[in-house]
């Protein structure tokens, strides 16, 4: 608008403002009326109107982003022209490059002795943490001597405390620029040079971490030189933890080059040689296609993270095809890339480090095999991997074959239907789709492996046909993509499902508009797949979109209810149980209002609501809802059906949480029987149910059977999941716990150690599960009497949890309690007391005063005080615990009764005879009155009461109590158990008083034999049993025997 005068502009302003006040449809008429004699005025106004329409986001935010990017690091010394300046013995000659990390100068070392051209890199980011690390690493990096690696010569801090590195100066081009002039085979050979250098560094335990074209030069002699080896690690801020800080330096620029950053780098996970393998994959991609594999709409940390971690890279061959107009000339390249090279590159670029090439060597070997015309290993591996995964997840065979036929028939039907385009026909199409999908979800287990692969290949062919043959029928194509997408989802092939559903969604939006009911379905299906992949945020977004569309349009209530149900499922996965519960209830209300009711879907929602209610600890209602779901499912499918097994499993878990172990056990057994019938011998669902059943049996004290079942689950996990898997680590740990409860500490220790090592390897050192493993192992070691190692491990677990979960967390409090109990065992009562108090304070803060865990903390603390003889304080704490338990758990809860017992025991020690008798008798009565009493609990109270009467000299009253206690323990634990030995000791003391010396000797020797062989944990009991035996033989008149049991 250069010809504008202020006068003309004033005229424009007036008219523009009037136009702004008009609704857009009326603006043309206004322009026509006011500017009909002045076309140039009209044109100017039109331009402004167009600009206004486009500019809504323009200047939308203040200049913040500009300010940060332009200002930072700008007036600092590095920004000013430093040419000519000296840094140490180096004189900067000229700037030769600038990037996210800093500025590179060509410099000359001239300290009078000799002259050497070097590249000096001044780092622009904060330097505080660098000095020490630099000194540590410099030695290692300087040792890297390989013709393909530019040597690190020196480095340090400038006078302004800015770090700098000095490297061999290389004249040359970047590897990608150099590659453009080469043939495909020459490029591959050039790439192999890069691999050699990286491989050498890996053998020397150095990972590059920042491989990208600008760090890989080809010198004038055609030799590759890698720059900046190990520098990225040096610059990584150990405290930086957010995506932002990892991706961005303080300069507001990317530290990593987004296309070359691996998912683990973006996510801040462990960096290994696999990270370099990934970057090499990207490099080869770019060297061969001239393009980078990902496109970023915006270079923001979140966008980069999303793309790098979630988007599948384009196949190199498609990239070549897409990016050239003259298809004829480049098709040969696409052809050569398609197949082996595509596969090799994509294998190197897998999102999961473990699925990439195991080493740069293996990567290079495949390139060499390709160059030598041999079959590459990547291809083979992919097929095997995918078919293995496929088979593992879905043991369907004939079912699949039938399905493929149905699917093909279905295509035909759908197409006809779509052409008819009546509502009735469309509905039919829906039913066909539902039918196809339901057939797949209940496919028949147990077939030979070969056929399954064939089935999968047929499916893939089907998907390809949809893409190639239906292009002229976009609506049908979108519909079929959706069908296929849902089928893939049922098969657990989530990547394929997602890609098809995304395409389908896009097409539907384009053809039907964004508000169409079909679009809502597409959003919902895509949301479910994302949910299964664990992308909960995106899943939620799609389901909320679906919901909004359905709520705005008059969608039928069933669809709406199912969308609510699905959304609730996602929210539940995100841990938002309250919202999930509300949505399930809303869905349920809608479903119950339907006529006729869709029973199958109603049972799904009931099942889901039940699980969420359990999470919300509304056990009674959860039980009721799950029983209703179970009834419906049994009437729909009969007693033997996967859905029935699932609901039984959920119901059992609620019963378990309610402490109703007997019924829980029965339901788990039924679920297990069904699963074994339905899935065959091995299936993840079977192993889960086995594990759950074993846990109930453990609670019931049936340790032997629990151990058997845990072992079976474990064997199955090994078959299904391979040698190492977090689930296997959990199973190992479960088994170890039950073995420890049986007193088999040696095997328990060995299993816990395996679980620990596995979790450390798979999850990394800093993971809450590792803390659990450490704690469990410590617990066993404590029982074995290895107090020192146990203490070390308890402390490690505590510190890990404090780092990972924060200073205040329920698990931290458990750690504190464990450690305190150990210290108590070691006699360090003061520290034990302090830690118990800390745990107590934390639980009070986190859980409130009225929580059973707080009562437990009180009980532990009281027990330390008891040991110190601080009986009155202990009594007060037991009383407080009792009050909480009464309020929270009720008077018939085992914890309440145990507290009664504890109070009675304290009263006994305080010499408050009446109170002690009253409390212990009450505890005894309540144990006897409750049908679910654990015999061990009852036995302990009988023993305490028996010992009390023994002290009172009421031997006849004590006798049946002590005899019963021992008998109960023997019945529960078999022959050898600490509790049995304790009960024998108590009974032995009575027998001495009764002058029944032979009987006394009998039980006391048994007790002593156990404690003598037992770990140091039982030292106190051992000395008591010795004392009792000495006493016995003295009274019996056999002092020589007594000598055998000297302290």
């Amino acid at each position: 608008m250069s010809t504008l005068t202020p006068e003309r502009w004033q005229e424009i302003e007036v008219l523009f403002n009037e136009l702004m006040d008009l609704d857009p449809p009326h603006r043309d008429a206004f322009l026509e009326a006011r500017c009909h004699d002045d076309p140039s005025l009209r044109a100017q106004l039109q331009r402004l109107l167009d600009a206004d329409a486009d500019a809504s986001a323009f200047l939308g935010e203040p200049a913040d982003a500009y300010a940060a990017q332009l200002l930072i690091n700008d007036d600092t010394p590095s920004e000013a022209n430093l040419e000519g300046r000296r840094i140490g013995p180096y004189r900067l000659e000229k700037e030769i490059g600038r990037g996210g990390m800093g500025t590179v100068y060509l410099a000359v070392r001239d300290d009078g002795q000799f002259q050497q051209k070097v590249a000096l890199k001044l780092i622009g980011v904060g330097a505080h943490h660098l000095r020490e690390r630099f000194l540590q690493e410099r030695q290692i990096l300087a040792r890297l001597q390989h013709e393909g690696i530019a040597r690190l010569l020196d480095g340090g801090l400038t006078e302004d405390a800015q770090p700098f590195f000095v490297m061999e100066y290389i004249e040359g081009k970047t590897v990608t620029a150099y590659a453009t002039s080469l043939s495909l085979d020459e490029r591959l050979r050039l790439f192999l040079q890069v691999c050699d250098a990286v491989q050498y560094a890996h053998r020397n335990l150095v990972v590059h971490r920042d491989l990208k074209p600008s760090n890989i030069l080809v010198a004038t002699n055609g030799k590759v030189k890698l720059l900046d080896f190990g520098i990225a690690k040096l610059l990584e801020d150990p405290v930086a933890s957010t995506i932002e800080t990892r991706l961005l330096t303080g300069t507001g620029q990317m530290l990593m080059t987004p296309s070359y950053a691996s998912p683990e780098q973006v996510l801040g996970e462990a960096i290994t040689t696999a990270t370099d393998v990934y970057a090499l994959g990207v490099l080869l991609f770019e060297m061969l296609t001239g393009e980078r594999p990902y496109h970023f709409d915006r270079i923001t940390p979140l966008e980069v993270a999303r793309v790098v971690c979630e988007e599948a890279p384009t196949r190199p061959s498609s990239m070549v095809r897409n990016h050239t107009d003259s298809t004829e000339k480049t098709h040969p390249l696409a052809k050569r890339l398609k197949g082996d090279l595509d596969t090799i590159i994509l294998k190197a670029m897998r999102k999961e480090p473990a699925r990439r090439y195991g080493s740069v060597e293996a990567f290079a070997e495949d390139i060499r095999r390709y160059l030598g015309g041999l079959p590459v290993q990547a291809r083979d591996d992919t097929l095997r991997y995918r078919s293995a995964k496929f088979i593992r997840r879905h043991r369907f065979g004939t079912g699949a074959a039938i399905l493929v036929i149905l699917l093909l028939v279905g295509f035909g039907i759908l197409m006809t239907v779509q052409q008819a385009q009546t509502a009735r026909e469309a509905q039919k199409a829906e039913s066909v789709k539902d039918f196809l999908v339901s057939v797949f979800s209940v496919s028949d287990p147990g077939e030979s492996l070969g056929e399954e692969v064939t089935a999968r290949q047929l499916l893939e062919a089907g998907a390809e046909r949809i893409e190639s043959e239906m292009q002229d029928q976009p609506a049908v194509q979108a519909e079929l993509m959706q069908v296929m997408g849902v089928v893939y989802k049922q098969l657990g092939l989530y990547d394929n499902a997602r890609s098809l559903l995304e395409q389908s969604l896009e097409a539907l939006v384009q053809h039907e508009g964004p508000q169409h009911p079909d679009v809502a379905v597409a959003h919902a299906e895509l949301g479910l797949v994302l949910q299964l992949q664990g992308h909960y945020d995106e899943a939620e977004q799609h389901l909320r979109t679906a919901l909004a569309i359905e709520q705005a349009s008059s969608t039928d209530d069933l669809s709406l209810a199912m969308t609510l149900n699905d959304l609730a499922l996602v929210l539940s996965s995100k841990g938002q149980f309250d919202t999930a519960e509300a949505l399930y209830r809303e869905a349920l209300t809608l479903q119950r209002s339907l006529s006729p009711i869709n029973e199958s879907k109603l049972s799904s929602t009931l099942n889901n609501l039940g699980v969420t209610l359990e999470r919300n600890r509304a056990f009674a209602e959860a039980e009721q809802v799950l029983r209703e779901a179970l009834t419906i499912r049994k009437s729909l499918h009969g007693d033997t059906h996967p859905d029935v097994a699932l609901t039984l499993d959920n119901l059992a878990s609620v019963l378990n949480r309610q402490g109703n172990y007997d019924e829980a056990e029965a339901q788990y057994r039924e679920a297990l029987a069904i699963s074994r019938t339905v899935y065959g011998e091995q299936h993840p669902n079977i192993s889960i149910t086995l594990d759950n059943l074993a846990t109930v049996l453990k609670r019931k004290g049936a340790y032997d059977e629990a151990a058997v079942l845990y072992r079976e689950a474990l064997t199955m996990d090994y078959e299904v999941l391979g040698e190492e898997h977090p689930i296997i680590a959990t199973s190992l740990s479960n088994l170890a716990w039950v073995l420890a409860l049986k007193g088999d500490y040696d095997e328990a220790e060995s299993l816990h150690r395996q679980a620990l090592a596995m979790d450390q390897k798979l999850l990394g050192e800093e993971h809450p599960d590792v803390a659990i493993d450490l704690r469990s192992l410590a617990w066993v070691l404590e029982r074995k009497g290895a107090y020192d190692e146990a203490e070390t491990l308890y402390r490690a677990s505590l510190e890990l949890n404090q780092r990972v979960l924060g200073e205040e967390h329920p698990r931290v409090s458990v750690n504190l309690s464990n450690l305190a109990s150990l210290l108590e065992r070691k006699g360090a009562y003061d520290e034990a007391e302090a830690l118990h108090r800390q745990a107590l304070a934390m639980d009070r803060k986190l859980l409130g005063n009225a929580h059973s865990d707080v009562a437990l903390d009180l009980t532990y603390l009281a027990s330390v005080l008891e040991k110190q003889g601080r009986l009155e304080e202990a009594k007060q704490l037991h009383l407080e615990a009792l009050g909480i338990e009464r309020e929270v758990l009720g008077e018939d809860h085992p914890f309440y009764i145990t507290s009664l017992h504890n109070l009675g025991r304290v009263a006994h020690q305080q010499g408050d005879v009446a109170e002690a008798e009253r409390l212990l008798q009450q505890a005894l009565a309540q144990w006897n009155a409750s049908p679910d009493t654990d015999p061990a609990d009852l036995a302990l109270t009988e023993q305490s009461l028996g010992s009390f009467y023994l002290d009172q000299g009421r031997l006849d009253t004590a006798e049946p109590l002590l005899e019963n206690a021992l008998a109960r323990y023997e019945e529960k634990y078999g022959t050898s158990h600490p509790s049995i030995a304790e009960a024998q000791l108590a009974l032995g003391l009575l027998r001495i008083h009764q002058q029944r010396f032979a009987d006394a000797e009998n039980v006391l020797l048994a007790s002593h034999t156990f404690f003598a062989a037992a770990p140091a944990w039982h030292a106190a009991s051992l000395s008591q049993s010795k004392e009792a035996l000495r006493d016995l033989y003295q009274q019996w008149g056999k002092p020589a025997q007594a000598l055998r049991f000297a302290p």
Binding site: A67, Q69, E244
Partner: protein, 190 residues
């Protein structure tokens, strides 16, 4: 750099005087804003954004003795500060562009992230030129953009500084935005 007392005095002494006399105040505020901005950015190593509005307000609190100044002084300060911020950014952008041209040879360590900055530098310089053009047509429109975009002021604060209604600021903003957008992004400029 002048301290708080001096700057407050400068501000007070300029009451009612024409803009041309504001050079010393402008220079002082320019230096301070620039310094605060760098401090902030250095403090937050990962801070890739900078809150210009907060900067301007922080500068005001830091530089001006609140007890002595009045409402119109505050407005006056914001007006100068927004101008200073505009100059700071444009100056840096020009320098950045000049450096880029000064260029390099054999190995260029330019990554995807950096290109963005270079674009931003060009955008800011172009925006500055277009604002000059706009000021020639209606100075208030360019002032509105300066205050809101560079100074980070809200509609109400901008209205206060310019002594017009909020509605006028909104209208001016829309008008100015359309002009700038069409000037910067239309290919076939008339």
């Amino acid at each position: 750099m002048p301290d708080q007392v001096e700057i407050t005095q400068m501000l007070l002494s300029l009451r009612g005087k024409p803009q041309t006399e504001h050079n010393a105040l402008f220079a002082a505020i320019y230096d301070h804003l620039s310094a605060i901005a760098h401090q902030q950015l250095n403090r937050r190593r990962s801070g890739q954004t900078l809150d210009t509005a907060a900067l301007v307000h922080e500068a005001y609190l830091k530089l001006i003795d609140q007890k002595q100044s009045e409402w119109q002084d505050r407005n006056h300060f914001f007006s100068v500060a927004a101008l200073a911020m505009r100059h700071i950014l444009v100056d840096h952008a020009r320098r950045r562009k000049a450096l880029k041209r000064g260029g390099n040879v054999e190995h260029t360590i330019l990554d995807e992230g950096v290109i963005d900055v270079e674009n931003r530098a060009s955008e800011i310089v172009a925006l500055d030129q277009a604002l000059h053009q706009l000021a020639g047509l209606n100075e208030r429109l360019s002032k509105v953009v300066e205050l809101r975009f560079f100074g980070g002021l809200s509609v109400e604060e901008t209205a206060g500084v310019l002594d017009v209604s909020a509605r006028t600021v909104k209208r001016d903003w829309r008008m100015a935005r359309a002009f700038l957008y069409s000037t910067l992004y239309d290919e076939g400029s008339t």
